[in-house]
C-alpha cells in the first residue's frame, strides 16, 4: 500500500490561495434531548464525523450520498448556518469556524446558498423584487430606487422577465422560482455558491435548464460551486470532482470521470450501479449491486468502517478498524478511498460475499 497523507495536509502551503474553502476534520453532532423542564441529553445524532475536504477556486465539487448521510448538514456548516461541534472551516485562508454573528457577516456576502425547495425558500408574502433585493438591503447597498435596476438586471441575467419585478412567488413555476433563488444568491457577486440539491425538486426537463444556467453563470463570473445532490448523473454532469458521503463520512473522493470509470469504494460501486441509464438496452444489461439492509442509525453508527454491515466485501478488520481516506494502490494522488479492500477494476461485486461471521456484524 502506498504511503499517503490526508488530503488537507498533502498540499503545500503556497497553494493556499488556490483553496477557496477548506474543511478540516469537521464534526457535527445534534444532541437528542428529553425532559419537560430540565432537558437531558440522551443521545447524539452523528451527522458529520471527521470530514476533511477542500474546494478549489473556480471548480465544482459535487457532494453525493443518500438522504441523511450528512451532506446538507456539512453544507450548512460551511455557510455557518450550523456551527461545528469540532473541526475547522477555512474560507479564503481565514478560519471562520468560531466567528461571532457580526464578524461572520462580511463572509456571508462571499458565500451564498441555493436551496432545494423552490417553493419553501421564497417568502410567499413578499414580492419577487424585494426577495432578490434582500441581499442589497441586508448589506446596506443603495436605497430602494437604486436597488431596482440592479434587481432587474439580475432577473434578466437568470432568464426572468424583469417586468415581473412586482409579482409574488406563487405566480411563478418551479423552474422560474429556482431562477429567483439563483438571482438572489448571485446578487452580491459571491465567490462560493453552495447549492443544496438545487434541481432535485424540479421536473427533469427543467433540471437541465437550471444546470445549464448555473454552468453559464460559473463561466461568466468565475464562481465556485459546492454542489450537493443525491443524483449521480446530475453530479457527474456538473462536477469537476466528486466526494461520496456515507453516514457522515467521505468514503471516496476523485475527479468526476475517474470516479465514474474506476470507482474503488464498494458503496460508490453500488451507487453507480443504481444510477438511472437512459438507454434501456444498457439498463437491462448492467449488473445492479443490491445492498442488503438499511442505512444504520446515525445515533449509534457501526464500529470500524461504517459501511461494513452492508458491504459485500467486508472482513473482520472492517469491523474493528476505520479505514483512512487515502489514495490506494494504482490510483492517482487525487483519487482517495476509505476502504480496506477497494474494488479492483473488473471485479464483480455481485459475486463476492462478506467473510465476517454474522454475530460480529455490528448493527
Amino acid at each position: 500500500m502506498s504511503v499517503n497523507v490526508n488530503e488537507s495536509t498533502n498540499r503545500p502551503t503556497n497553494d493556499a490561495s488556490e483553496m477557496l474553502v477548506e474543511i478540516r476534520d469537521a464534526v457535527k453532532y445534534f444532541p437528542i434531548k428529553q425532559g419537560v423542564v430540565v432537558k437531558r441529553e440522551i443521545g447524539r445524532v452523528h451527522a458529520v464525523e471527521g470530514v476533511s475536504l477542500s474546494v478549489r477556486r473556480g471548480e465544482t465539487l459535487g457532494l453525493v450520498g443518500e438522504t441523511g448521510c450528512g451532506k446538507s448538514t456539512l453544507a450548512r456548516c460551511v455557510t455557518r448556518l450550523h456551527s461545528l461541534t469540532s473541526g475547522q472551516i477555512l474560507f479564503e485562508g481565514q478560519d471562520i469556524t468560531d466567528l461571532s454573528r457580526s464578524r461572520v457577516r462580511p463572509y456571508r456576502r462571499r458565500m451564498q446558498m441555493i436551496f432545494q425547495d423552490p417553493y419553501g425558500s421564497l417568502n410567499p408574502r413578499r414580492r419577487v423584487g424585494s426577495i432578490i433585493g434582500d441581499p442589497f438591503a441586508i448589506h446596506g447597498e443603495g436605497d430602494r430606487d437604486e436597488r431596482k435596476p440592479k434587481v432587474q438586471e439580475l432577473m434578466e441575467l437568470v432568464g426572468l422577465n424583469p417586468e415581473h419585478y412586482n409579482r409574488f412567488p406563487a405566480e411563478f413555476s418551479g423552474g422560474q422560482r429556482q431562477r429567483i433563488g439563483v438571482a438572489r444568491a448571485l446578487a452580491l457577486k459571491p465567490s462560493l455558491i453552495v447549492a443544496d440539491e438545487p434541481v432535485s425538486a424540479l421536473d427533469v426537463s427543467i433540471q437541465a435548464q437550471i444546470i445549464n444556467l448555473l454552468d453559464d453563470l460559473q463561466q461568466e463570473f468565475g464562481l465556485t460551486y459546492l454542489f450537493i445532490s443525491h443524483d449521480l448523473s446530475v453530479v457527474r454532469h456538473v462536477s469537476d470532482r466528486i466526494a461520496v458521503m456515507y453516514l457522515g463520512q467521505v468514503v471516496e473522493l476523485a475527479d468526476s470521470e475517474e470516479l465514474h470509470n474506476r470507482p474503488r469504494h464498494p458503496y460508490t460501486n453500488a451507487l453507480l450501479s443504481a444510477a438511472s441509464v437512459a438507454d434501456p438496452d444498457q439498463a437491462a444489461a448492467r449488473q445492479r449491486i443490491v445492498l442488503t439492509g438499511d442505512v444504520p442509525s446515525p445515533v449509534a453508527p457501526p464500529t470500524g468502517c461504517r459501511f461494513h454491515p452492508r458491504c459485500p466485501k467486508a472482513q473482520a478488520i472492517c469491523v474493528q478498524e476505520q479505514p483512512p481516506l487515502v489514495a490506494r494502490a494504482g490510483d492517482p494522488d487525487t483519487h482517495l478511498t476509505a476502504c480496506h479492500f477497494p474494488v479492483e477494476p473488473g471485479e464483480d461485486l455481485t459475486r463476492v460475499t462478506a467473510t465476517i461471521p454474522e454475530e460480529e456484524r455490528a448493527e
Binding site: T79, R108, S121, L122, N123, P124, R125, D134, E163, R167
Partner: protein
Amino acid sequence: MSADETVAASLTETATGSTAAPAVIPAGAIEGRSPWQLAWFILRKDRAAMISLGFIVFIALVAITAPLLAHWIGYGPTDQDRTNGITVDGLPVAPNSQHLFGTDNLGRDILVRTIYGTQVSLLVGVASTLLAVAMGVLVGLAAGYFGSVVDSVLSRAMDVVLSFPFLLFAIALVSIYGSGLGISVFVIAFFTWAAVGRIVRGQTLSIREKDYIEAARSLGAGDMRIMFVDVLPNVLAPVIVYTTLLIPIAIVFESTLSFLGLGVVPPTPTWGNMLSDSLDFYQVAWWFPLFPGLALLLTTLAFNLLGDGVRDALDPRAGRLSQD
C-alpha cells in the same frame, strides 16, 4: 412563441415605447396580485361580510359626526328636556316625533345618547384591541422566534394573564386608579393580549422552520429583520382575523364595565351605563333598554360576521387562497 421571445418582444416594445410613445407602460410595471388582494376578492363576494362592513362604516361615520347629528336633532347628550321629555309622574317619554327613540328617566334624548355611546364603544373597542394586538404580536413573535428560555418565560406569563379573573381584577384596578376611559382601555387590553400572543407564538414556531427563514439567515439578516420582514407578514392572516373578532369582545367588555359603574363616568353616555340606568324602568319604558341594547347587539354582530368573512377569505385550508 417561446418564453424568451416573449421577453424579447416585451423588451423591444418598452424600448421603442420609451422613445416614441411615453404612454406605453414602462418596464417593471406589471403588478402582482398579492395574497391580500386575493383575499379581498374572496371577501368581496361574501354578502354577509360586506353588509357588516357597510354597517361598521356607517356607525363609524355616526360616531365621528355625533356632535353634528346632535345639533341637527336639537338636543345635546346631557340636555334634559323638562317640558316634553318627562311625564308628570317623572317617567320616561315613549318614542314620538320630538324624541324618535324616546327619553330616559332624566328627560334626555335616547337617540342622541345612543349616538354618543357609539363614540365610546368604538374608541374603547378599537383602541384596546390595537393595544392588545401590538402587545400580543411582539410577545408572541419573541416567544416563538427565540424559543427556549425566552419562550418558557413569555408563555408562562401568558398563561398567568389568561388565568386571571377579569371582573375581579377590573374592580380592584378601578378602585385603586378610579374609573375612566383610559383605565377601561388598559384593563381590556391587558386581558386580551395573551390570546393574540398565543396565536402568534404558535404560527411563528412553524414559520421559523421554513427554508426562506434559513435563506434570510444565510444572507446575513439579523433577528429583528427576520422577525419583522420575513416572519410577521406570514403570521398576519390569523392576527387580522382575531383582531376583527376581538373588537366586539372589547366593546362588550367596555359595556360590562360601564354597566357595573366601573367604566366611563356618567353623565357621559355609553351603551353600558344607559342599560344600567334602564334597569329600574324597563318594565314601564321598553324603549329605554331597547335602543342601546340593539346598538350593542348589531355592532358586535357586524364585527363578528365580518371576522368570519375575513377568516374564510384568509384561511389557507379553505383552499381558495394559494398558499405554499
